[in-house]
Symmetry: C2
Subunit: 333 residues, 2 copies
């Protein structure tokens, strides 16, 4: 007997397979093969990464060592980039021991020496292109690359994430901001050398013409924050909840702060109704049409990454049929 | 060799054992034995619950079926209250099969019939005392209790959470709001009967004189939101992070949106400095005194419950020594 979404215990994450595939197809058409280096931090799921690999993307981006280790163990280690700085010697040694091609970002002498000491071989110079986060100043990129090479590391190129512009809802401003960031990154690249200029995200996948590869992640599942950009991507991810209490003016569903990333604000109700507030295990909302205890509702997360990180599984659905359940196997650090 | 906090991989949750014990002692003195029914949703950790049980609290509150199942499996099932509505027949059957005393909240005919059908035996009537969430209207509590008894359920009493007042920073308003809520709950109790009047939380532990038992949870570990109330409780929980990048005006640590519940806003930096913003795996901050890559910093979560739910372990520390590591074994649903 086919399992349907009504058989699932709640709260549960649903991934509409048609919407997911449409998103994967769209980015694969726009950024074929190695032009896209999908970021797994958004879904933390090797089964989903395998679906991306099936469209010709052999190279992946990770944010944590656990993501790198899990991707290698899943046989998806052709070319893994840890687009983040790590100084933990034990974790770096684990990376160096992987049966995978491993490249790590470095942005300082300290991260450079930690990578070299652990026996890692390939690095990208991480450059600050405007987002106040990791990345060395443009003018230091070349000397950092020289020092890396002196220390026996192969420098594959540069990376620089224009995270301060990817969410800008004004398309012109987003494109302009992207261009300005990439001008900085190309200046650094001129000093660094190497074949790789890695940058970008879902918000700039269609306007970043300067990077050799785009690190988009959210595009696969999407969320209401990225939906505001008006990109031709579909909302593939929903939180599936049960109504557990109904009163005169409002009802309560069994999602909440432990099943939804909340930094971008409240989730949305795609089938109508007004969300009042979220508690740890409750969503209080005013339904548009009457609901009964036991009814199910869809809730659209505001931010995909910290939402998925709360869950053990993604349930793949086609209409109401549950066609597969994927483990979110890259959680933690 | 003693393991210290400097040996821990980051991000990691630290629990200061002296602060934790001071909090546990304070509540045990204020609410001895069965006057306190600690809520495990705040820490999701049977090892911590055992420490609470060691102070004479045999009865616990849970928010999810998985918490109930885990507490029973840990031998802490003397008297477990699921202070939440559940309609999933499979999960309710699992509850009924536990080797534990199980009581569930019901607030409607639907949840009543689901509990009875699953073979559960004991219930509390959940009453809305002002928070727009679960709970039946006061005037329906008596008839719901009658119907429960007709269906073979034992009604142990009432519960009603004054969640709309527990966080009020004005102590007088908090006390007044608590009194008004408890007047409603006692009216319902007069119609329902039974020995139990269960209510309260950390914010009202010292002013709720009407409930027979208080469901406090956050008091054990605390967070910056509850700290604003000026209660004599200590901040026992910190996120321990490594500095991974340092630039002229700011530095970056390896905590972020996947290691911190963000619904109450940004975390705080107890050792000084100004937090700029959090990304998935980064905290950008302006340090008060210079920091170097590899340095460690403490970050205080704004909301304990959704923070702990992201983590696999709580590391118990005494000064800088790590004296134990507890699994957060009650995560999920």
């Amino acid at each position: 007997m086919t399992r349907t979404i009504h058989d699932l215990a709640t709260p549960a994450l649903l991934v509409d397979v048609d919407d997911l595939d449409a998103n994967l197809d769209l980015l694969s058409a726009a950024l074929p093969g190695d032009r896209l280096r999908p970021h797994v931090k958004a879904h933390k799921c090797t089964a989903l990464a395998r679906r991306q690999a099936g469209r010709g993307h052999r190279n992946f981006t990770c944010a944590t060592v656990r993501e790198m280790v899990g991707m290698a163990a899943a046989g998806l280690g052709d070319d893994l980039l840890l687009a983040n700085e790590v100084v933990d010697p034990e974790r770096l040694k684990r990376l160096a021991a992987l049966d995978a091609r491993v490249t790590v970002a470095i942005d300082s002498e300290a991260t450079l020496r930690a990578a070299a000491a652990a026996g890692l071989r390939e690095v990208l110079i991480d450059v600050n292109v405007g987002l106040p986060r990791c990345g060395c100043p443009v003018e230091q990129a070349g000397s950092l690359a020289d020092l890396a090479r002196t220390n026996g590391l192969e420098v594959r190129g540069v990376m620089g994430y224009e995270g301060h512009v990817v969410g800008n809802e004004d398309r012109d401003a987003r494109e302009k901001g992207c261009e300005e960031s990439m001008e900085l990154l190309l200046r650094a690249h001129a000093d660094v050398g190497g074949e790789v200029v890695s940058a970008g995200g879902t918000g700039t996948y269609d306007c970043n013409r300067w990077a050799t590869e785009i690190q988009a992640g959210s595009y696969a599942l999407m969320d209401t924050a990225y939906a505001k950009l008006g990109l031709p991507l579909r909302q593939a991810l929903q939180l599936w909840c049960s109504v557990i209490s109904v009163s005169e003016r409002f009802a309560v569903a069994d999602g909440g702060l432990k099943s939804l990333g909340m930094d971008h604000g409240n989730p949305s109700l795609p089938d109508g109704g007004k969300l009042w507030f979220c508690s740890d295990e409750h969503i209080t909302f005013a339904p548009e049409t009457p609901v009964a205890v036991g009814d199910r509702i869809r809730v659209t997360p505001a931010h995909v990454d910290p939402t998925v990180a709360y869950h053990e599984r993604l349930h793949l659905v086609s209409g109401e049929a549950v066609v597969d359940s994927w483990e979110v196997d890259l959680r933690g650090w």
